[in-house]
């Protein structure tokens, strides 16, 4: 059964992809995977199985061993256009000595500000700054806007990384355990903001989540990596039959 009409182009399309760091030893093999606009897909599985490596490969940071990867209409090794892909790494990738605003502005600039050709530097943009401040406020960090990242708690830093991606307004968000270190109340708040964004902007969210209960709660589809292969699980209550 088709989940989406065939006219809709998937944001991510993987065909016979093997990923890993060594040629002869693939970590994960994915026969076929498509993720469509408006979808929230979670990847779960035991640690060390290759969940984060899969995310990095989709982000274009690691070369796949074999197979074809198309992200936002561009096939690897071509990258998605500027600002189309938002990435929250497991260790967040924040500039620790810079302020919250500076970090969130990186995402906002990627999404709303375009560099001068050949020079590669952006001029200041009011739109980008407005988006950054909105994203910071939505994560409840308005009082920390000028604080350097190194002075924030682990949970606050995680919210800054999420705000950076929301300020970017990307077509695809790749998030690696972006809800860990957060208390239940904050998880609800962050999750609500992210899902609202994904559903309203018709973008997609691919999230690696260690906690399988939370993964089932947030995702439309759950992929479990087990024994080096991606197996689809259909989640409740938004259960839909999907072929992978």
């Amino acid at each position: 059964m088709e989940k989406f009409p065939s006219k809709i182009e998937p944001i991510i399309r993987l065909n016979d992809v093997s990923i890993g760091y060594k040629k002869g030893e693939p970590l994960v093999q994915i026969p076929n995977l498509e993720i469509f606009p408006g979808e929230i897909v979670a990847i779960a599985g035991p640690s060390g199985v290759g969940k984060s490596t899969l995310l990095k490969t989709i982000a274009g940071l690691i070369r796949p061993i074999s197979g074809s990867i198309v992200v936002c209409g561009r096939s690897f090794p071509n990258r998605p256009n500027r600002g189309e892909l938002g990435y929250v790494p497991q260790s967040l990738g924040l500039v620790r000595h810079a302020s919250v605003l500076h970090n969130v502005m990186l995402g906002a600039n990627a999404g709303h500000n375009f560099p001068i050709p050949f020079i590669g530097i952006c001029l200041p943009s009011f739109v980008a700054k407005k988006k950054a401040i909105e994203a910071i406020n939505s994560m409840g960090l308005e009082e920390k806007i000028s604080e350097p990242i190194r002075r924030l708690s682990g949970g606050q830093q995680r919210r800054v990384a999420t705000a950076r991606t929301l300020a970017q307004c990307p077509e695809l968000i790749l998030a690696d355990e972006f809800l860990s270190e957060l208390d239940e109340k904050t998880v609800d708040m962050v999750l609500k903001e992210v899902t609202t964004y994904v559903k309203s902007s018709n973008s997609a969210l691919l999230v690696v989540e260690h906690d399988i209960t939370r993964a089932k709660m947030m995702a439309d589809r759950l992929l479990v990596i087990d024994d080096g292969r991606v197996n689809p699980f259909i989640t409740e209550p938004t259960a839909m039959e999907v072929k992978i």
């Binding site: 982000a59 189309e84 990738g93 990186l106 590669g120």
Partner: protein, 329 residues
């Protein structure tokens, strides 16, 4: 990937005591003693050294001649109030000139070395960018491959070339080019600063954590944005502390380059060395030592603004200048 334990395992298979790191350290130390012994013919000369030092110290060095802090006879000192007339002394004039040379050359050197070190760092991917651009412009061939290799290594080549000569040799070179005085000093120190500071900077950049670069690369930020908005703020602590260290280094070497006529306090040290007035030389050296100590203390305070650990417990001026035990009391 080479394991950290590989040398230990390899050496241990030949000689069992070398299975431990302690054994390897003892071996390295003993080999250095043997090499040193091979270079020295007459150990008796070393035993005479201390006696010579005591004699030289008593006869020529001590007490220092503090007349170097008195105003020069010509030009006539017109400074008012009179207790400030030490600012007309050779020690003060030379010291201020050395400080100026060190400051200007550190600033110029840092400005030139930052772009070079960004281009030289392998983790930022500028090298791949150069190769891709050349391959786009020209048809891929062994010549274009060679050209891209050469161009991508150019920043490292320049940094290595500037660093290969000590600052005193650069000073001699610039004294020949532009004549005696502080201009030659500034040029010599700037060139050396670019080479030395650039090396420290690209090592700091290559040592930074990769995730901010990955996140920004995935977002699609340009190399320039990543360099100036991610790399420089992230490495700010290292870059500032290296620049302060370089200022200290330039000040100390500024005293040496004066000897070849490139300005600063070294000019006066050289002058009094020629006249064998060692008591005046030791006075200059004590002044240099005090200024180096003051710069070092100031740099502790300046660097504390950029370190994580000290941020919440920043040292006060009192705690820097007064020894810990006295400060506690």
């Amino acid at each position: 990937m080479i394991s950290f334990d590989l040398p230990r395992k390899l050496l241990g298979s030949f000689f069992p005591p070398l299975r431990s790191w302690l054994g390897i350290c003892v071996l390295i130390f003993l080999s250095s003693i043997i090499i040193f012994d091979g270079m020295i013919n007459d150990w008796g000369r070393a035993s005479q050294g201390l006696g010579n030092l005591v004699k030289f110290f008593n006869e020529s060095l001590w007490p220092p001649d503090w007349s170097v802090l008195e105003p020069q006879a010509y030009p006539v000192c017109t400074v008012y109030p009179t207790f400030m007339d030490f600012t007309c002394s050779t020690a003060w004039i030379g010291m201020v000139e050395t400080l100026k040379i060190a400051f200007v050359s550190t600033v110029f050197g840092a400005i030139i070395s930052i772009p070079l070190s960004l281009l030289a760092s392998r983790n930022l991917g500028f090298r791949r960018k150069i190769e891709d651009s050349i391959n786009l412009l020209l048809v891929a061939s062994p010549i274009t491959f060679f050209l891209s290799e050469v161009l991508s290594y150019l920043p490292r080549f320049f940094l290595a070339a500037f660093r290969s000569l000590p600052s005193i040799i650069w000073a001699i070179f610039f004294v020949i080019l532009v004549g005696f005085g502080p201009l030659a000093g500034v040029l010599a120190m700037t060139v050396y600063t670019v080479g030395y500071l650039g090396k420290l900077q690209y090592e700091a950049i290559e040592g930074m954590t990769k995730t901010p670069l990955d996140a920004c690369e995935a977002m699609g930020l340009t190399k320039f944005e990543i360099a100036f908005k991610v790399v420089i703020p992230e490495c700010a602590n290292d870059l500032i502390s290296q620049a302060i260290f370089m200022f200290e280094y330039n000040f100390r070497h500024g005293t040496v380059i004066g000897i070849v006529g490139a300005g600063g306090i070294g000019y006066y040290i050289n002058l009094y060395l020629k006249f064998l007035q060692y008591d005046k030389v030791i006075a200059y050296l004590i002044i240099i030592f005090i200024v180096v100590l003051i710069i070092d203390f100031i740099s502790i305070k300046a660097r504390s603004y950029f370190t994580d650990e000290i941020a919440l417990n920043r040292p006060s001026w009192k705690s820097i200048f007064i020894p810990f035990s006295m400060n506690k009391r």
